[in-house]
Amino acid sequence: MGIKNPPALAEEKSLFEGSARGEVAVTKSSSRPKRETAESMATRQKDIAVSEFFAKNRHLLGFDNPRKALLTAVKEAVDNSLDACEEAGILPNITVIIEDLQPDRPATTKHSRYRVTVIDNGPGIVRRQVENVFGRLLFGSKFHRLKMSRGQQGIGISAAGMYGLITTGRPMVIHTRPNAKKPAHLIELAMNTKTNRAEVTLDTETEDFPPSQYKVLSAATRAPDFLSPEDYRTGTSVAIELEGRYQKGRGSVDEFLELTAIANPHAKITFVPPSRVSADEQEELPLGDVARDATPAELAENQAESVKSGELLAPNGVDPTLTTIMKDGIIIFPRGTEELPPETKEIQPHPKGIELGILIQMMRDFEDANRGGGTLYNFLQERFSRISAQRAAEFCREIGAHTRTKVGDLTPKQVEQLFKSFQTARLPAPPTDCLAPIGVRQLLAGLLKGVKAEFYAASSRQPEVYRGRPFQIEAAIAFGGELPPNEPARVIRFANRVPLLFQQSACSSFKAVIETGWRNYNLQQPRGSLPVGPLVIMIHMASVWVPFTSESKEAIADYDEIRKEMKLALMECGRKLGTYLRKRQKMQREAARRDVFERYIGEIAKAINAINGMDADEIYQKLLEEARKRTAIADARLDENGQVIKKDEHEDLRQDDAVVMVESRAAHLQLAEGSATTSPDTNGVSDGEEKVSLKRKKKAATTRKKRSAGGDNGLF
């Protein structure tokens, strides 16, 4: 939600500081003498403008159409839950429930009424803030600070509630329990868009948290571990009824949750989808149907076993056997790591990262805070990062001011001059401890549980700065396994761990992917396009301020600094993939070679037996040994050109903490990819035979697997 109205927001915030429990929010003006002043009126006028404005321009908030509205409601609530849990240092447990409230509607109806409920185990919300959080636009804890978080503007959840109210007339239902030892608050509230105020229709306390009404939806929700009170000792449940459309595919709730789970492996997310998918315009998209991609619960265990026994090497703390699970219609994204993202620090803006208007506003705030008395010298040091005392004095001098000059006494010309000096000054980069990258390990953990590939690599770059704002780029790739082999790579994009689902081609990350030379890494890549192959590319940008191309927060603006970092991260992953693929191709060639030998050895043993009476089995074994030894030699010591190489490159990958390889899935891919395998041609091998040798490859692959499970080969 990017509405750029910072001065108004700052004011809003201060307006609510005194709100007391049970009260409808009180404005500053109401604490003053009864008579309206021009100022208080102006404030209210702004309020009205904001909520009415959004009611009429829903698309700005992501409610353009029923399908996106459903997604946005889920997204706002989930983002808030994750933010709240992280800030409170709680490993997030989030349950998303979408109920179809018109299950008997005719099949042709394009949309339906849904109840979206998101329940978290976060810190809860103190009673007195509930109305503000849910009933007012532009109320939030995150806007006026420079800190990395998902939400920023203080619009999200109230806008969702407002949209629900507009389309269904139903209020939001909030359960929130800030204290595990006390009952939860149960509040129903509707926003009055005219006044930007919440109207509370129910306000009571209850022990029923998490709300038991959701336990009776289906067989799966009756399971004891579903919404168990132990998991949700504190927390918040938000329910919004709205007009929406539930469909799968790109830009769906399914995709959003799937991607959220990947970027937030520390969260456990449970999703109860509605009983039916909306009619019409059902997009046949290969992505974003988690129910289809998830592993049925009964299979999950077996698969975990097979992944474990197929040799796998994953960095510490990453459990490669985790996978999305589907159980009785409920989808569970399990927690992939017990580690919370590091806490991030708030920072002061860097001089190079602000606009003139903001500079003026900051000066005004500073003046206010010092009751009109702050000096420019102090302002520069206190309100900015990376301005030393010496540097502050220099700035003062540059604009013809004294160190004791009061901020309020600066002329507009001087302020502008200061702004210009900021741009030309040589300043240290902003601090970067305000950033919480996902980290290589967690990137891998997230991808591993979300994408069934055979090879994973991740890269987390060092923080960099664009326009005075620190940012950090991370990339990860997943290759092979069960990914579709002949489609363009899927690019999944994240900003501050939030998936970006729309406007891919406008996004800097998309450009970075296209500009990266994937052919260098043994992948196909049509000119100016995405690479083609069983590949998922993940890009994450962490920043205190993500530059979106538009207010809908859908694409990252194309700054050179940012794109360059993205490319570097992709190249790092790509190089590892290249090494892996070359090795794998070599292995396939060797396997095929071995296959050819093994194919004939049986016949030869029989013939020898017929001639000199030697035991056929014994000869067979000897020859087989020899065949394997020979192909193993070639495997280990020769590179593509038959050159002897000293060290096995794969060894490096195996030692690499930023790489995970799952051989059992690689074997699977070898089969699927068959046609791409270079066949070691013996004289006149016909087409028919080629197919045969593929079939045989399966056998060869499994035998190899068995052998190496015995420990001789590790991971490849």
């Binding site: 049986g602 030869i604 001639i611 020859l623 035979e689 040798s693 079939k695």
Partner: protein
Amino acid sequence: MAKKTTRKSQDDKRMKERDKATLAKIVALADTITEAAFKHGDISISIPTRSRANTIWNRKKRILEMGDNKASRELFNLNQAKQFMQTMLHSATIKELIEADKTSSLRSVFYKAKHTVAGTRENTFDTQEESDPILEDLEVTLGALREELHIFAENRGAMVGNITLIDKGDEIDCRRMGSGGYALPSIVEPDVIEFKKCEADFVLHVEKGTVWNRFNEDRFWEKNNCILTHGAGQPPRGCRRLLQRLNQELGLPIICLLDCDPWGHYIYSVIKQGSISLAFESSRLAIPEAKFLGIRAKDYRECDLSDAVKIDLKDNDIKRAKEIAAYPWFKENKAWQKEIQHMLDNGFKMEVESLITKDISYVTEVYVPERLKKRDWLD
């Protein structure tokens, strides 16, 4: 009768000795491989190379001979693995044949060894063309003749003429062979075929059956007191061996009537000097004295043939003709250099049948007799 029995038992004994030697060679081959397998040595068979590079032109004997080059056929080489297996399969087959004292045609050996490789749908052999060279490899590897391997080729080629022979004890009068002639067996060694009585003055060998039919129908052999043979194209070993025996044992000149094209020239070259792939057998097959009667490049003019007989030389033909011209035995032969150049200058080929355009029996009644009389041939 009694005499015959003794000879037969003598034969048998000789045969047994030969078989024993061949068997021992096959077992030795298998033993080498077994040993290598147990010692982790190279699993390979050393096979004399039947290639152009390993063919030596013996100027004195005027035949092609095989050189001493050997190539090793390795199991653990992608390009050789299958042939290695095929070689072993055929070794086993031959051993079985010898032990059962049976002979078998190339075709049936192919069928005997052809099956799907266990666990796959791949055939051990797909075509007989794959199988035959493997048997030839075994001949040279084991240093055994084909008949010693108990293998024979299908009968191919035919013979009529003023000669009587004994074929496995049966008397064959080649004057009374009707329109089909005596089918030439693949093994014509003295223990199979004996010449009993021969009045013929020479042998006329023609390229194919159709031409041969013409000559037979016109009773050419009777009129010209000769033997008439054909080899159905490139003459098989049986045919060549018989021609050689007729030449060497009975002193009959071998006169060839072949097409005027690179293929005809090549057939002549094989009859005369031996072939590359069977260079090891040249001493049994080549007939350095064989003559090439026609068709000649000059015949288009000399015989006043119509344009209908011309068949354009293709690029491939030209290439082939130049290759043949470069064979050492042709290279030193001015007449042949001229002949090939003439054909190239003509720009067309001619078949023996082209003479029929003049008159159905022109070739038998005019062309051949005249050329013979003038001794107008190439050597």
